[in-house]
Amino acid sequence: MKNKKGYYLVIDSLIAIAILSIGIFLIRGSLANSPSQIQGENLAHDTLSFLASAKVSDFCDFELSICWGPLTNLEIPKNRNNSLLGYIGELKKNGRQGSITDLIENSVANSHILNQNFNFTFMLDGSLFYPRGITKPEDINGYKSSPLVSSSSRIIFGHYDDQLPSDPFIQFENWGPYTAEARVWAK
């Protein structure tokens, strides 16, 4: 009789251990899959770094006055030494808000820079330029309920010489400083 009791207790404890182990395993597994703060920060930082390091001269032939890739159908950059981020400043100075959104769409949103678990917004001096047609990040679906929002910011400032074909005068222009901000949040 006593042996039978011991036998039940051992089985009971084994079942308890099994249930606890499965619970711990499930909790740990779900934590591993959730997006981490570091991952979000790195993505936000990488997005701006990409825009700051890619040169407009990589996407344009200035002799032929044509551009391709993310600069397709956009006006020819006035400063050939600019990065994409610098070109964004140039576009803002000239009031080409729509072109900024096009550029962000072509270079970041439609590329594979972002992990598919994350969404992205791009702001310049507090104004939202991506996604299109939205004024505040809070209005974007899923932003408020996201478990994780990371951001990275950079100061941009630049200059260019502007010469119209019909005008021999060269206008020297500078723009900025603007604050460019990329916000990345988990879906």
Partner: protein, 268 residues
């Protein structure tokens, strides 16, 4: 009796178990809080570092170019103030947008004059947004030279002291920046319209003749510095003609060579 003893041991061990579990959970919570605080601080420092490196790497270099070109343009268009030397006025203008005349300050270009101080004021609110205060910002012109017929090279030493609003971090930096400034697009200094080939509609344009070497023309800086004079076949002429444009026509006609850098000994 035995059963009571057993129950007592069970109660004790369950109390101890609960105590151990709650201690571990409590410790974990405080470790998590400390970790979050640390992560937030390092995140803040990382954001500020981003701003500071943009300020140092890109902003200072760009403002050197913009301020340098703006001030060279102002002096080329309006001339160096009477009784003042270029070397005296230019560094003051570059930094403050004004120069000292006796006991008073003479501003050039109004409040929008693009001096270093103007750009310091422009960047200040942006840095403040990131929680950084500019404690100190200073610049010193080290060298200015004519790099090529169409570029002037400026070398400036910048010093800055930036501080985090929460006193967590500070950046004390000193860096030398160079900018090669294109003078194309600037107006020609008044009364020195010697370079007819390179001067259209009141502005400098790129010399269309690739064979033209720099020593055929007086350099832009020499013109600005007011050292004056044109070296024609080894003879330095300080004051040329009422209409200096004639010089270029003469060069074609008489086949003389004009160079700048007047040798004072040979002045006639």
């Amino acid at each position: 009796m035995g059963k009571m003893k057993k129950g007592f041991i069970f109660s004790l061990s369950s109390i101890m178990l609960v105590a151990i579990i709650s201690t571990i959970i409590g410790m974990n919570a405080s470790i998590e809080r400390a970790k979050t605080e640390l992560e937030l601080t390092s995140l803040r420092v990382a954001i500020m570092n981003n701003y500071v490196s943009d300020f140092e790497d890109s902003y200072l270099e760009n403002i050197l170019y913009v301020s340098g070109k703006y001030m060279l343009g102002m002096l080329a268009e309006n001339g160096v103030p009477a009784g003042k030397g270029f070397d005296d006025v230019f560094p003051q203008l570059l930094i403050n947008g004004s120069y000292r005349q006796g006991s008073s300050l003479v501003a050039i270009g109004g409040s929008g004059a693009k001096s270093f101080n103007f750009f310091r004021n422009e960047i200040e609110p942006k840095l403040e947004e990131a929680g950084i205060n500019i404690v100190d910002f200073d610049a010193e012109l080290v060298e200015i030279r004519q790099d090529s017929p169409w570029t002037v090279e400026l070398t400036v030493d910048f010093k800055y002291n930036l501080q985090d609003k929460n006193n967590v971090s500070a950046w004390d930096g000193s860096i030398r920046k160079k900018a090669s400034i294109s003078i194309i697009g600037l107006k020609n200094p008044e009364g020195n319209d010697v370079i007819v080939n390179d001067f259209k509609d009141g502005r400098w344009v790129e010399n269309p003749n690739p064979l033209a070497s720099s020593d055929q023309y007086m350099s832009f800086l020499t013109m600005l510095s007011g050292e004056g004079g044109y070296n024609i076949n080894g003879i330095c002429i300080k004051q040329i003609f009422t209409y200096p444009m004639c010089i270029c026509k003469l060069t074609g006609f008489l086949n003389v060579k004009i160079t700048y850098c007047c040798n004072q000994d040979s002045t006639i």
